[in-house]
């Protein structure tokens, strides 16, 4: 089983467009049984291009990866110690002067349980609350897709990402699957770390712009810390920019693997407006040809990884 994710650091450089096309190519490849995950739980978009076969086969599970504190007024003796002694490191405990009781700032609360343990009167409890949803279905091209969607204000994107990955192992298709393809979140923080952890290979997509370069460097630095092999895809590779040279120099100097380059091609936004992977919408376009090359290179690289 090979598990890979597409990440980028910078947002909007083409993670989801590339993932959708790679999924479509892998689906047609007799060598692979694919499961697709969208771990961008803050903004899950892959389902727009890879919609379900039918609405009936869409399964939704609530997740409860977040915990929140609840204040039990009947037990409170108004000692104010929770506030004065700074029980909460997250500044989620305020003091309501007029009622002489603490107030919990729900959004700031991390559910760490410090208030519960430290209060002598047991006037706080910690409960799991809904943190989001995991949605799974069979895509119209006939393979499973799972994505997560955070409940807004629930604060725990990283835990939900782990839950999405965990969910894949419960699918009936999991036993036969030999390829897990993950559309990752932007950034390099908690949800991205949760996405890449335990994977075999990372595809880092970027563009030759100052932020594209700056952000992919940081993404690679993060991936390197976890010792995961990776390859680079350059999108909008023919963009006229001084960063072009810097990006190539950076990759060359470090000896990183380039899986391929995709030149600017209007068939990509067009395919998107029709909600189709570009390799299906315009198979002959330069972008599709480039992505097919990337797919083959990726396959080659994966065959060398045990």
């Amino acid at each position: 089983m090979k598990k890979i994710a597409i990440i980028s650091g910078k947002g909007g450089v083409g993670k989801t467009s590339l993932t959708a096309s790679l999924v479509s190519l892998a689906q047609k490849d007799p060598e692979f049984n694919v499961i697709t995950l969208d771990c961008d739980v803050d903004a899950p978009n892959l389902a727009l291009i890879l919609p379900p076969k039918s609405e009936e086969n869409v399964l939704t599970h609530d997740t409860f990866t977040t915990k929140k504190a609840r204040f039990l007024e009947e037990k409170c003796v108004n000692c104010k110690q929770c506030y004065d002694d700074h029980f909460c490191e997250f500044n989620a405990l305020d003091w309501d002067e007029s009622n002489n009781i603490p107030i919990i700032n729900y959004l700031a609360c991390e559910g760490c349980g410090a208030c519960k343990v430290l209060c002598h009167e047991n006037a706080f409890e910690i409960n799991p609350v809904k943190s989001g949803e995991i949605i799974s279905y069979e895509i119209d091209i006939g393979l499973p897709l799972i994505y997560g969607k955070t409940k807004l204000g629930s604060t725990t994107s990283g835990l939900l990402v782990s839950e999405v990955k965990q969910h894949a192992t419960k699918l009936k298709e999991f036993n036969d699957a030999n390829f897990i393809l993950i559309d990752g979140p932007p950034g390099i923080g908690c949800p991205v770390i949760a996405t890449v952890s335990g994977l075999d290979y990372i595809v880092a997509i970027t563009e030759p712009t100052p932020s594209g370069l700056h952000d992919v460097k940081r993404a690679i630095e993060m991936v390197n810390q976890f010792n995961i092999p990776f390859g680079i895809v350059i999108n909008k590779a023919d963009l006229k920019s001084a960063s072009q040279k810097q990006l190539n120099k950076y990759i060359e100097k470090a000896g990183f693997e380039i899986l391929g380059k995709i030149n600017f091609d209007l068939s990509i936004p067009e395919a998107m407006s029709y909600a189709k992977p570009v390799v299906d919408y315009a198979p002959e376009s330069s972008a599709s040809q480039a992505i097919k090359k990337i797919y083959n290179n990726l396959k080659l690289v994966l065959s060398t990884i045990n």
Binding site: G12, A43, T155, P186, I188, P210, S273, A275
Partner: protein, 305 residues
């Protein structure tokens, strides 16, 4: 007390032009004589300094708590591990507990409850804050150390620094612009929560729409006023449907920005399009669209100095 007006630029989806808008709004306010502070709260990938070609200064460590077990004092009772909600202390009977940094929330409960004071704070660097100055705009910027997860702590630090400035020098700034990360997670939430007005930047695509609806839901949840900017507004194909849906959802639009070569070129050069001394075409489509956005913004909020 006098307080600067705080505007948060956000967007849900990545790459829609949040930083482009944040930087150029800051520049336009500066052009009109406002004292402007820009805060880059996308600590996972801060990019404002690239667009401003700014040299970062005043590098300061952001430290975060991790328990350190003092073996001489530890009685191996296991109370710390038993009470750790995130299971960040691994305890096997009759041995010292082992802290697991990746899951520690930093709540300090173990440190507070250890009966023999055998736990001390072991502060580790999880990132840095910087300040900079460019084009007569001050910049506060946070940077997460790669492979660290707790970006929210750094965002928190930036907002603390802002609060300090407002408290000690309330007249130092008239306008504060906050640039957020993509997504709708806690980092973004904190910045939206700290603002008076929120501007989500989107694009007329299916992805743009879906992510805009989610970020607007979050902004509504936080009870903040918002108006959207539609970037790449000359992208056809999905635009009509997009605009219709925004109207149905009563999402107001502050203005739009068409695809424009000069925007790309200003961004690649590190010279903001709207700077007074920049040599960009004053009649260019991008330039004019920003002027219009600024006019609308002045009508929307109360920006009296």
């Amino acid at each position: 007390m006098l307080k600067p007006k705080i505007i948060c630029v956000t967007g849900g989806k990545g790459g829609t032009g949040k930083t482009l808008v944040a930087v150029n709004l800051a520049i336009m306010f500066k052009n009109r004589g406002y004292k402007v502070l820009l805060i880059d709260g996308d600590v996972e990938n801060p990019n404002t300094f690239l667009l401003l070609n700014a040299k970062l200064k005043n590098k300061k460590k952001v430290l975060y708590f991790l328990p350190k077990i003092i073996e001489d004092k530890c009685t191996k009772c296991g109370l710390c591990a038993e009470n750790c909600e995130t299971h960040a202390l691994l305890y096997i009977k009759d041995s010292y507990p082992i802290p697991i940094s990746t899951v520690c929330s930093g709540c300090k409960l173990c440190y507070k409850i250890c009966p023999t004071n055998a736990i001390e704070p072991d502060l580790k660097v999880i990132g840095w804050t910087y300040t900079a100055s460019a084009f007569n705009i001050d910049l506060f910027l946070g940077e997460l150390k790669p492979a660290e997860a707790r970006s929210a702590v750094i965002v928190n630090k930036l907002m603390e620094n802002l609060e300090k400035v407002i408290k000690t020098e309330p007249e130092k700034y008239d306008i504060v612009i906050l640039d957020t990360a993509p997504g709708a997670h806690c980092d973004v939430e904190e910045l939206i929560n700290g603002a008076d007005l929120v501007i989500p930047v989107t694009e007329p695509t299916r992805f743009g729409k879906l992510d805009l609806l989610r970020i607007v839901e979050l902004i509504d949840l936080l009870k903040k006023e918002h108006k959207a900017i539609v970037n790449r507004s000359s992208l056809l194909g999905y635009k009509e449907k997009f605009l219709k849906e925004l109207e149905e959802k009563h999402i107001e639009i502050l203005g739009d920005i068409p695809l424009d070569e000069e925007i790309v070129s200003s961004y690649c050069k590190g010279i903001p399009l709207m700077d007074e001394r920049s040599k960009f075409d004053r009649d260019g489509a991008g330039y004019k669209s920003f002027e219009k956005i600024f006019e609308n913004l002045l009508k929307w909020g109360d920006f009296s100095k």
